[in-house]
Amino acid sequence: MSHDVTHTRTQQEYEYDRKRANLGMRNQVTVFALMIFLTFIAFASVQAGMSAYLVAPLILLFAAVQVALQLYYFMHWSEKGHGMAQFFMYSAAFIAFTMILAFITIIWW
């Protein structure tokens, strides 16, 4: 609240923050590479002319993995202090799932 409080970091804090930032950067780059790789496989499997019964579930699976990676790494869910956002996103996913399930089972079939 108060704006006139300044905080000076000690050398240890500075090094700790730096180390964490480095780790975070490494994770992001790794995950980014992984996501590119997954996208590549998805395209390659279509290009290779494999059966649609293999390709479709494969792409859906990769999509789910990519969404998870996106949320946990690029949107920082793997770090502390994101519990509320996670709770709301999982709740929304759950509610959306029940709706879609109901639509599939009792309206369209």
Binding site: M1, H3, A92, I95, T98, F103, I106, I107
Partner: protein
């Protein structure tokens, strides 16, 4: 500039309210607008009851009757109950959690103006060729066939006011998550804050399906789309699902804050800690979740099949469990308390049996086979009026008395308040209790008249008498407000003497920055703890006095909403071949909205600071 409260002329006051971003003033705006729509909806209710007072009545025509029942339901739910609850949320929640304002004051204002312009647009349909006439649920097979523009007014008006509601809900979520004072953990939040939080989460998840459904409806009616037209591959049931996926949580959006208000009132006037606080919180969250799993119980007779009906029936009955927990907790809060029967407490005592009666008939309807008998009869009408009037309206009246001194620094007259309660409460039961039996005797809902000598005549007449008693109650409340305003006696801090939560610890009238210093919260019922320890100031502070950052007032929210209001007319009349002006109006309206948004984006508005020196002088920064 240090926008301090100077003595202002009438025009300046109006301008202040048009541009305000202060949650306390927005609460007053919500209260005024909600009351206006409550009265309009009430007049519609009276017309319904006059028409049905005797068989074969021709007070209104069949078509007009359909418009009246549609507008009664729509107005009461969307334009009266929700805004009035938002009024009390805005007035109390930031103060209860020790915040200086909501998280997004600008959006708070935008939410209000969107709601108001959407509501005005919907009600203008009365003067512009006919109101919507397909019931408040606006089932697609009826509404697509409706020849007037009424349904378009419904769809566009609700779209605009729904956006406002969604914005308000998100604002409260962020406020409660991020703006709590130091020490105000989740499990120390007052119950009204908790129920506001859960209701806002329900708004967040429930309004998007309504938005989608309304867009489908707009597309079907205006652009010849076929989402709901089975002749062209659509499915009319999709509207019903989308509407009730929204509509059922909507019931809980309304009733949870009502529960919260009564939880505050019971604890305050029993002068006891709320019994089973943590189970109350748990029950609130559980009701919130279950509220999304039960929408198809509104559609048992659609023919979803026995499996779907059974699943939704069981899920519906499950909601009775957390609701029952709440009822028992309230009873045990009162039990052994040092009870003071003030007007709000009287409403609370009336609420418990009334709401339980509505809940019991709800469980009856949850049983799918029985629902085939009860469906579309007056039994249903009796049930939902018991829940909504017996739950929400009683809570709103109770909260009006309870929070009046917080909002206006005046006490409503207690004696007159109790007389109001008697008229309203007796009238309410007189109107709706007997409708259970009308339903069981086979009277269908939504009929504009009926033949005599079926045993319905007397009961309908009694029901109408009850409606007049309720109207007398509402008029008495208005009289009470006027008398109090004329007297103008300041109520002062903690006027009920038994306030438990932070909002009562603030000096009256509440300073525009709320808290000079952010309070430190040391437990549930913060103010009570401080009082019991003899702290005259009522608060322990978490910070030294320092500059307070405040947002500037803004006229932009009004302009954004006004633009959409104009655009809606263009969109509505664009279907008519003979109205060439509609397209320019649509474009002009959207231009106003987007230009206002661009101005908001490009012009930095950093607010201002109230300086420490101003806060330190005796008047606490007030000039």
């Amino acid at each position: 500039m240090s926008s301090t409260a100077k003595k202002k002329g009438f025009g300046a006051t109006i301008w202040d309210y048009l541009t305000t971003v202060d949650h306390k003033k927005i609460a007053v705006l919500y209260l005024i607008a909600g009351t206006l729509f409550f009265v309009i909806g009430g007049i519609e209710a009276m017309l319904i009851r006059i028409q049905l007072a005797e068989p074969n009545n021709d007070f209104v025509s069949a078509g007009l009757f359909n418009e009246i029942i549609t507008m009664h339901g729509t107005t009461m739910i969307f334009l009266a109950a929700m805004p009035l609850l938002f009024a009390f949320m805005n007035a109390a929640v930031p103060l209860q959690i020790g915040a200086r304002d909501v998280a997004f004051p600008f959006l708070n204002s935008l939410g209000f103006w969107l709601f108001l312009f959407g509501g005005l647009f919907l009600n203008l349909s009365w003067f512009l060729g006919g109101a919507p006439d397909a019931g408040w649920t606006s089932y697609a097979s009826l509404s697509l066939a409706s020849p007037t523009h009424g349904i378009d007014f419904y769809a566009l008006g609700l779209q605009i006011s729904g956006a406002g509601t969604l914005i308000a809900g998100i604002n409260f979520l962020v406020t409660i998550i991020n703006m709590r004072a130091p020490g105000m953990t989740y499990m120390r939040m007052p119950l009204f804050t908790w129920t506001t939080f859960v209701a806002s989460a329900l708004i967040l998840f429930a309004f998007p399906p309504l938005t989608v459904g309304l867009f489908f409806m707009i597309f079907d009616r205006m652009f010849d789309a076929n989402f709901f037209d089975h002749l062209n591959g659509g499915n009319t049931i999709i509207w019903e699902h989308l509407f009730w996926i929204f509509g059922h949580p909507e019931v809980y959006i309304l009733v949870l804050p009502a529960f919260g208000l009564f939880s505050e009132i019971f604890a305050t006037f029993s002068r006891k800690r709320l019994f089973g606080y943590s189970s109350m919180v748990f029950a609130t969250i559980l009701i919130g979740f279950l509220g999304f799993m039960v929408w198809a119980h509104h559609m048992f007779t659609v023919g979803l099949g026995p499996t779907a009906n059974a699943i939704f029936a069981v899920a519906t009955m499950a909601i009775a469990v957390p609701t029952g927990m709440k009822v028992f907790n309230w009873l045990l809060t009162i039990w052994g308390g040092n009870i003071k029967v003030t007007t709000p407490m009287l409403y609370g005592l009336g609420f418990i049996p009334s709401f339980v009666a509505g809940g019991v008939t709800g469980v009856m309807q949850a049983s799918a086979p029985l629902d085939y008998q009860l469906h579309d009869s007056y039994f249903i009408v009796a049930h939902f009026h018991y829940v909504i009037v017996g739950g929400i309206v009683l809570a709103l009246f109770a909260a009006a008395h309870y929070y009046w001194p917080l909002m206006f620094n005046q006490m409503l007259n207690e004696t007159l308040g109790k007389i109001t309660f008697v008229f309203f409460f007796v009238g309410f039961h007189c109107t709706f209790f007997i409708q259970h039996f009308l339903g069981l005797m086979g009277m269908p809902r939504r009929v504009f008249t009926y033949q005599g000598d079926q045993g319905w005549d007397l009961f309908n007449y009694i029901s109408t008498i009850g409606a007049f008693l309720m109207a007398i109650g509402v008029i008495l409340l208005v009289v009470n407000v006027i008398i109090t305003a004329i007297k103008g006696e300041p109520a002062g801090r903690d006027p009920w003497k038994d306030g438990r939560t932070l909002e009562w610890a603030i000096p009256q009238p509440v300073p525009y920055y709320n808290f000079k210093q952010t309070p430190l919260v040391r437990g549930l019922d913060t103010f009570w703890i401080e009082k019991m320890e003899g702290n005259k100031e009522g608060m322990t502070y978490a910070e030294p006095i320092s500059d307070i950052h405040m947002p500037n007032n803004s006229f932009i929210p009004f302009m954004i909403s006004f633009g959409l209001f104009v655009a809606a007319f263009g969109a509505l009349y664009h279907q008519d071949a003979d109205k060439a002006w509609s397209l320019p109006v649509l474009i002009a309206g959207l231009a106003i909205t987007f230009l206002s948004m661009i101005v908001r984006s490009l012009k930095d508005d950093l607010g201002y600071h109230i300086h420490k020196e101003e806060l330190m002088n005796e008047k606490g920064g007030k000039k």
